[in-house]
């Protein structure tokens, strides 16, 4: 049983390594709300010019690097340093025949502040969850102490947010996908949701351990964990499935503004579901085994 479970860890381990490599090699492309800069979306009702033509039109304005990205059939997304409203008017005037759809310009200091806050928020969520899990499982001390359940949850959670982050490093490299405030919100949400599956399994382990004590039954810890994981497999998968169903709908037909957001959540949810089965439970068994030796 244990041997089988130890091998299971390979999948989340490989996924984490690939993600870390992706993040280190390509890095993350920060959105303007995190690093400052501006975004102007324009629409050409009578058909849009080529990207090169747009570059040529904005070059005389000396706004530094202006990145032009087609969006939909008639729109362009223009990204530049943070522009004041006057600058935006000049930019719009240079793009003949274009109508403004949306404009967003963020000063660099706001972005830096949000970034700082984001790290705090992620740390706080993880810290609160470990405290909470340790508290919820405080009566479970044999054979594995309750705080170790908390540690296992953290390792699982780190894996769950590494995978979508790695994906966005890859998407940033290949398609220019950006990591923005909504991405961080998605990560924080994943932390809150994906701990569910782990809690469901741990809750069952807690219950089965108690039943064994009541019935004076001796069962190896690894067996209890495996047993509990199998018992809760259907509900773990199904509770994630319902969330993934609505997120897929949101991704495919929802607003453009939340497409990347739902993609992050979908990937995080999938990672969170398999990690509770392939990472959390086997880790718990390993800790139990290690303590014995």
């Amino acid at each position: 049983m244990l041997r089988y479970q130890t091998q299971l860890i390979l999948l989340p381990l490989i996924a984490s390594i690939i993600s870390v490599v992706a993040i280190v090699t390509w890095g993350l492309t920060l959105g303007i709300d995190l690093k400052g800069g501006s975004l102007l979306e324009v629409r050409y009702p009578n058909g849009r010019p080529t990207v090169d033509a747009v570059h040529a039109a904005v070059a005389p304005l000396n706004f530094g690097e202006v990145r032009v990205q087609p969006s939909g059939d008639k729109n362009f997304m223009l990204r530049a340093r943070d522009l004041k409203p006057d600058d935006k008017s000049k930019l719009l005037a240079a793009l003949k025949g274009a109508e403004e759809v949306q404009f967003n310009s963020v000063g660099p200091s706001i972005g830096a502040e949000i970034m700082q806050k984001a790290w705090w928020a992620i740390g706080l969520v993880i810290f609160s969850i470990i405290l909470f899990v340790a508290f919820a499982f405080r009566h479970v001390s044999k054979p594995v102490a309750s705080w170790k359940y908390g540690v296992v949850v953290i390792i699982t959670l780190v894996h769950d947010i590494l995978v979508p982050t790695g994906l966005f490093a890859y998407l940033g490299h290949t398609r220019g996908a950006e990591v923005d405030v909504l991405f961080i919100v998605a990560l924080l949400t994943i932390l809150g949701i994906s701990v569910n599956d782990t809690i469901v399994v741990f809750d069952r382990i807690r219950e089965n351990l108690r039943i064994n004590i009541d019935k004076h039954r001796k069962e190896p810890f690894g067996e209890v964990v495996a047993h509990s994981t199998m018992q809760t497999l259907a509900r773990s998968v199904n509770t994630s499935m319902t969330v993934i169903i609505v997120l897929l709908v949101l991704f495919f037909i929802g607003p453009v503004a939340t497409k990347d957001f739902s993609l992050t959540l979908i990937v995080g949810m999938i990672a969170g579901t398999y990690s509770s089965i392939f990472l959390a439970s086997p880790l718990l068994v390993l800790i139990g085994k290690y303590q014995k030796n």
Partner: protein
């Protein structure tokens, strides 16, 4: 016979409760429906800028000249002044908010957030807000101003003794180290008016327009102290960061009236008076970020969001009924009531809906059904052990409860921290998400439970077993 009758009577009570719950849900749904089709309703949905279109401006306030401890005061005065300005140009439901950089941030930054629904011409909005003058009185540092004094000397010769404060103009002088902050600013102004000089005092001949400023009580006291302590010094008057005049203080001035003369044309003086009366900014501000969203884009996002919500709900219902059958159907009914209650809360609280908020709501629908899955799976297990339906339902419920409670607490933790993390956009998401968790927890305890215990299925028959079963088992 007796026991059978009491058992069926007990069941009638359960059915009655279930019907009452469904009627309650229907009433909530009717409230949402009727207040949505009636456009004059007191309870409309409120949409954020990204759905309704509009401008979002963030200004940074420069508080370096404000005394310690008075920052909050200065910011609230700033907010009032800007709000007054915006009300003048007629935007419905503008939002002007003071925001401070978070506690985790290393340096304190005070910001003013201005939201203008429906205003998509951001340039005009910025101009209108920016027109407000910032007025400051600063003392000229004599030593540092040595160079400037030569200029002053020249014009001082021309000035007359008749004016309370002689008129010295240092045109184009940039504010710098040679000026000492006095704390006296436009926020102390009670009233401003246009007067014309009586002829002799002016460097530009007859009837030079002069702006007369009357301070409020605090301002008058400050002005008196300032003029008493610094007789013989130059008092520079800054308008929007530029010196417009730096007259010599001849004598202490009580009464709180100062005159500003700075080569005004009558029109310029009139505009200054108007702007000062609308409110001079207590502190200088700088535009830090802008966002303008066209109404069409917001509309598109709203429709896509609503459409995704409906399709998501239908797919979820199909999945639940196919997989969990009768308990699945119960879950769908409970979920419908969850949606109705959430929408009613959005209207009653009211919650400002944003694109992220709609995404949060759709996500919460997927999460709300989790409790039902946990309960249904547990009931199935209990039935498998040969328990009767009644017992299985109540046991299944109480055993699933701990997992439901614990996972919801984890959601709430995430929700609270998200709310703290949030800018307006994220707060919308966090609020909807957190509200969803609490409402779904309540609906799992009350609605799902009431409906499930009212079920009467004979699980000894194969149809009954099928209805209470799940997945690929028959």
């Amino acid at each position: 016979m007796n026991t059978v009758r009491s058992k069926s009577a007990e069941h009638s009570v359960k059915v009655f409760r279930a019907i009452a719950v469904i009627i309650f849900g229907a009433l909530v749904a009717y409230f949402v429906y009727s207040t949505t089709i009636n456009h004059a309703s007191r309870y409309p949905f409120k949409y954020g800028l990204d759905l309704a279109g509009g401008s979002h401006l963030v200004y940074t306030a420069n508080l370096k000249d404000v005394r310690k401890g008075e920052e909050a005061d200065a910011m609230s005065t700033l907010r009032d002044v800007i709000e007054r300005r915006i009300n003048v140009f007629g935007v419905s439901e503008p939002l002007v908010q003071v925001e401070q950089s978070s506690v985790v941030s290393s340096n304190r930054v005070d910001r003013l957030v201005v939201e203008l629904p429906g205003v998509t011409d951001v340039n005009k909005a910025v101009d209108d807000i920016g027109k407000t003058p910032s007025l400051e009185f600063k003392l000229v540092d004599k030593k540092a101003a040595a160079a400037a004094q030569a200029m002053e000397q020249a014009s001082q010769n021309a000035s007359s003794s008749g004016a309370k404060i002689s008129n010295v103009t240092v045109d184009g002088q940039k504010p710098g180290e040679l000026y000492k902050t006095t704390g006296l600013t436009g926020r102390y102004i009670k009233h401003a008016q246009l007067v014309f000089s009586n002829g002799q005092s002016s460097t530009r001949g007859l009837n030079e327009p002069i702006v007369q400023v009357e301070f409020n009580a605090d301002g008058a006291a400050l002005f008196k102290k300032l003029t008493t302590d610094n007789v013989g010094e130059n008092l520079a008057i800054f308008l929007d960061g530029t010196v417009i005049s730096a007259p010599v203080i001849r004598e202490p001035i009580a009464g709180g009236i100062a005159t500003i003369s700075g080569n005004f044309t009558p029109d310029a003086a009139r505009e200054l008076v108007r702007n000062l009366n609308f409110g001079a900014l207590p502190v200088p501000i700088e535009l830090e970020s802008t966002q303008a969203i066209g109404a069409a884009l917001g509309d598109e996002a709203l429709h896509a969001g609503v459409y995704a919500g409906i399709v998501g709900f239908i797919l979820l219902s199909v999945f639940m009924v196919l997989w969990y059958r009768l308990p699945g159907l119960v879950a769908v009914i409970a979920l419908l009531m969850y949606v109705a209650m959430m929408l009613a809360l959005f209207k009653l609280i009211p919650v400002v809906l944003t694109t992220a908020g709609i995404a949060g709501f759709i996500l919460s629908v997927g999460l709300a059904v989790d409790a039902n899955i946990l309960i249904a799976e547990r009931i199935k297990e209990e039935l498998k052990e040969g328990k009767e339906l009644d017992t299985a339902v109540s046991l299944g419920f109480s055993r699933a409860w701990f997992a439901i409670r614990d996972s919801n607490i984890a959601h709430i933790i995430a929700g609270v921290i998200l709310f703290w993390f949030g800018t307006a956009l994220i707060k919308g998401f966090a609020l909807v998400f957190g509200l969803g968790v609490i409402v779904s927890l309540l609906s799992a305890i009350t609605i799902s439970r009431t409906l499930l215990v009212a079920l009467k299925v004979n699980t000894t028959k194969s149809l009954g077993r099928f209805l209470m079963g799940s997945g690929f088992t028959f």
